[in-house]
């Protein structure tokens, strides 16, 4: 089978009035959005804007309260099993098992994803090479640097060749060099495999460098949508940066923007990654 170029002409992720409420609070409010195959799409917005809730619903971890979404044509509510076979997810938290080596982590997920035995070794060797971890393959992940852990986690997503990869704040807590290598990894996945990537980030520089389009969310809604260039132009000021765009559309900070558990959780992952 050749490159999946035909996907470049279709919407691989479609959100149809996707909604999630918690009691009286609406975390995600009737979001309507299409993401094209082969693009790197950025979901931006202040804490509590609903980005993580959108990702949780798209990755089938959380059922929507109403509305739905399709991924590669499969419905997240009615066909979660089919959706899971088409996607990979790298949570913001550290999701590689620190008590195992890189090789053991890769073997475990190759089996969980049902990678055929005859190609498992080849896939694992390729993933280790992609992550630049051949030398460290037999060391416990617990002793890795933050950048190494992230590279491994992204390489885990290569084992079953998903069509869509979800990355939740992929470079939080990383030094500039490690960040650069993660960016290169992400770009290779899109360029060489035609993968579609949906990521969330708080770094406008990251969104500007990587994303073909971004959506800025606030209070559960999409406030702005377009390429970074388009959004900068839309402000009507010369030399506008994506930071300016972010500030403009993130006004009226929600009251729950930064609660204690958010802070302690992101701090914890910073410590782990540091």
């Amino acid at each position: 089978m050749g490159p999946r170029t035909f996907h470049h002409f279709m919407d691989i992720i479609e959100l149809q009035k996707l909604t999630r409420t918690y009691g009286d609070f609406t975390a995600v409010d009737h979001i309507q959005l299409s993401i094209r195959a082969g693009e790197i799409f950025g979901l931006l917005g202040p804490n509590g804007a609903g980005k993580s809730t959108v990702i949780k619903m798209l990755t089938t971890l959380l059922p929507p309260s109403s509305g739905t979404a399709t991924i590669a044509g499969f419905d997240i509510v009615h066909q979660p099993g089919r959706v899971r076979a088409e996607i990979a997810y790298v949570p913001q938290l550290v999701s590689a098992d620190g008590g195992l080596t890189a090789l053991e982590n890769l073997r475990l997920f190759a089996k969980l994803y049902g990678v055929p035995r005859r190609i498992t070794n080849e896939r694992i060797a390729g993933a280790l090479k992609f992550a630049g971890l051949e030398e460290a393959a037999h060391r416990l992940v617990r002793g890795y640097s933050g950048g190494m852990v992230r590279r491994l986690e992204i390489a885990l997503a290569l084992l079953h060749r998903p069509r869509v990869l979800f990355l939740d704040e992929p470079t939080v807590g990383l030094d500039p060099l490690a960040r650069q290598s993660i960016w290169e990894q992400i770009q290779r996945l899109v360029r060489e495999l035609g993968m579609t990537i949906l990521l969330t980030t708080h770094f406008m520089e990251e969104a500007d460098t990587l994303c073909s389009r971004v959506a800025i969310m606030n209070r559960g809604r999409v406030k702005a949508l377009g390429s970074p260039e388009e959004l900068k132009l839309s402000l009507g000021i010369s030399d506008a940066s994506l930071d300016d765009v972010f500030t403009r559309y993130s006004e009226e900070q929600p009251e729950t923007s930064s609660n204690f558990s958010d802070i302690s959780q992101s701090r914890r992952s910073l410590v782990r990654l540091g």
Binding site: G81, G99, F109, Y113, V115, R268, R272
Partner: protein, 281 residues
């Protein structure tokens, strides 16, 4: 093997076209389940300190409690020496304590993001739960070997016939699967380590004392007899008493004991598979 230096990723990673609808193939499910158990085995082999420290408690019970009570002759156990009577109870107790710890381990994995990743994989929830339960079973079986060794050193008259040993292993496995799944359900409901610790403490000791582990059901007050009959631990102990020691006998019948444990495991596994995703919501 192709080199990545020259080849693009695409060349290297040819798609393997998994028909997504066939994820229910039994061999695949068994493979997924065994991968989870293998992970536990790798970790236990790498760091057995936890296994060793957990062998201390049953040793204390057998050595101190067992010795004192057999001197007191406070518990009527018929012809059976008291240490022989309580050894199966202590085995069941250590299986219980090992298994109850699985809930907190899964909360820990949730805090790290490992559970998210497992839940997004195409592994059915039922298989994830069974993988955890069998991991607990593996750990409990190793624990069981320790308890047998201790009991043997203390002069308990152990039954080393192969069918009895295999039967005891099955009962230990089922007990561990049941109680680890029970603890997984609690973890899915309380979701935090602090609350789990509280509830874990509140549940384990009553489960232990409201069973026939260290005294027969016959000596209990009526209300406690009712509780003991509803307690799966009683059936585990009852079967072990017939299988582990010479001269020990079962009150309910080993067949009935195993049936009760099987039902216990099945029902809890189904509930747990339903609740597992709650951990990340």
């Amino acid at each position: 093997m192709k080199s990545l230096n020259n080849a693009t990723l695409l060349e290297w990673a040819e798609p393997f076209a998994v028909p997504a609808g066939r994820f229910t193939g039994l061999t695949r499910l068994a493979g997924q389940c065994m991968a989870l158990v293998e992970t536990e085995y790798i970790k236990l082999r790498r760091d057995p300190t936890d296994l060793i420290s957990r062998a201390v408690q049953p040793a204390l019970w057998l050595l101190i409690f067992g010795n004192v009570f057999s001197k007191l002759r406070a518990v009527a156990t018929g012809d059976l020496p008291y240490t022989d009577f309580m050894a199966p109870g202590i085995l069941a107790q250590s299986v219980l304590f090992v298994s109850i710890f699985y809930g907190i381990a899964v909360i820990w994995e949730r805090d790290l993001g490992i559970v998210h990743k497992l839940l997004v994989s195409p592994t059915p929830r039922l298989v994830l739960v069974l993988g955890k339960a069998l991991s607990a079973g593996l750990r409990a079986l190793i624990q069981g070997v320790f308890v047998y060794l201790l009991a043997w050193l203390l002069g308990v008259h152990l039954n080393f016939h192969l069918p009895a040993l295999l039967g005891a292993a099955l009962v230990v496995l089922l007990g561990a699967m049941g109680f680890s799944t029970f603890s997984l359900i609690i973890a899915c409901i309380v979701k935090s380590r602090e609350r789990f610790m509280g509830i874990g403490q509140v549940l384990t000791m009553p489960l232990f004392f409201a069973s026939n582990a260290i005294y027969p059901i016959a000596v209990m007050p009526e209300w406690l007899k009712v509780v003991a009959h509803a307690n799966p631990l009683s059936y585990e102990v009852d079967a072990l008493r017939a299988l582990m020691v010479h001269g020990g006998s079962s009150l309910f019948g080993v067949g009935w004991d195993i049936s009760v444990l099987l039902a216990f495991v099945s029902v809890l596994t189904l509930i747990s598979a339903r609740l597992y995703a709650n951990l990340v919501r």
